[in-house]
Amino acid sequence: MSQENKNSVQTTGHVWDDDLQELTNPLPRWWIWGFYITFTFAVVYWLFYPAWPIGGSYTKGVPGFNSVTYTATTVDGKQVKKTTHWNMRSQFMVDMNELTALQKKYFDKVASMSYEDVSKDAELMQFVNSAGKTLFSDNCAPCHQAGGQGKIGFSPNLTDDNWMYGGTYDQIHTTIEGGRRGYMPPFSQVLNDEQITQLANYVLSLSSEPHDPVAAKAGDALFHGEGAACYYCHGPDGKGKIQLGSANLTDKIWLWANIPADKTQEDKVNDIKNVIYNGLAKGVMPNWNVRLKPEQIKLLTVYVHDSLGGGK
């Protein structure tokens, strides 16, 4: 080889259009080494992690190199320690075990103590408030809104003293666990328009809203008579029954008709007529025992009762 050739760049020898040549520069050294290192990495990876398919199965990492030990809970509630090859799901078990261990002392206390004792334990209530806020935001807020204030026409306010299904710890627990299903039959077939107007006026009179006293007096008779029999669910005094979740009609709190927002007496009457006409096939709360653990439901009960300001 001549001196001239050594100093010039090597080519493949291909020449197009007189002087267009294909160069064969060597690859940069750092690149070559990076290439070899990835090969080495791959071999190490195969030893540690599931990698190569073999027929109907695959290599699961060389035993002993990267096994994962976790605690599983069986269907009948037993704790079992298991060791297996590394995979996403066994690593997930380890992560969940860590979390359970961190929260165990609090959840054990919540599960074993009475509601009243939990609410008196200041340190425990810090946990209840922070875990409760998260659980509430994920599960309850879509209906009851972020602060539990509810939404007229959709979901009850949890921050006031008015509880359709009862505001004691046990009653709130029952509601969360089993869900609720609101129902009021439609009266469009049973009563005529005049009668429904009279009833609406009577309902308004119960909470001292503007109303027509003559119509309300006739409505009173209908309310307590056997034709409409409103008293059967709402009680003779119109205060509702917790066992049925029927509304208290004597207070200023409204859920299905937005009376406070109505400007005129006519609007108020029409809003209530609308409910009596069509009834209510809504107010459905899902049962949370399928989605939440018993200790989570108990914690939420305390959170709703103590921290949202309900329960009176």
Binding site: P142, A281, P286
Partner: protein, 244 residues
Amino acid sequence: MKHDLIERNLGILLVLTMFAISAGGLVEVIPLFFIKETVEKVDGVRPYSPLELRGRDIYVREGCYLCHSQMIRPFRDEALRYGHYSLAAESKYDHPFQWGSKRTGPDLARVGGKYSNEWHTQHLTAPRSLVPQSVMPNYPWLVKTPLDYSDIQLRMKALRKTGVPYSLTQAEYDRNVKDFGPDVAKSLHIPDAEKNLIAQAQLGNYDGNPANISEMDALVSYLQMLGTLVDFKKYDDDYFVKFR
């Protein structure tokens, strides 16, 4: 020279290029068809009923998948928010699957039963009336548009060709009774599709209006069954570890 041959024949170059760029994907995907543990052995997974199937088609039509995934990964934060991680078995009758990876909205793999029907109807019509900070568009036409189910049998037949066990013959029906029980088998029988669809919509009354069958009925029926088919209380909490 071989290099020369490839560079001077466009056809060969094209075939070899396609082979080279698909090799990585094929190496990862093909073994999954043969590995026995890919799809977990689990009870309860069934194909969609005719109404749910129409709901799923509306889900795809409206592009829900652009913001919502249906795939809970086996990570702690996801399990705490969404529930048990998704199983391959749970989407074995999905064509195409709706796993996704784009979450502008929350994952919906286990949304079934989490909210009431009236919540879904209200929320799909006007999301911000219930979730003030939501950026989801309004879908007010769903509740107003009558559901077109005239081609439901064709839709089921097309899926049957891909291997979803919707039944056309008595023999297939009997096989479904054996595999899924009589109630589910009935809902998978293609000749009865319209009848089953109407019955489910009227019984469920998903949109709160019993008078007609709307697109809302179908979509909510689909949302309400998502992720509810497998009863995880029947399995040890590490049962699904052995499939990976």
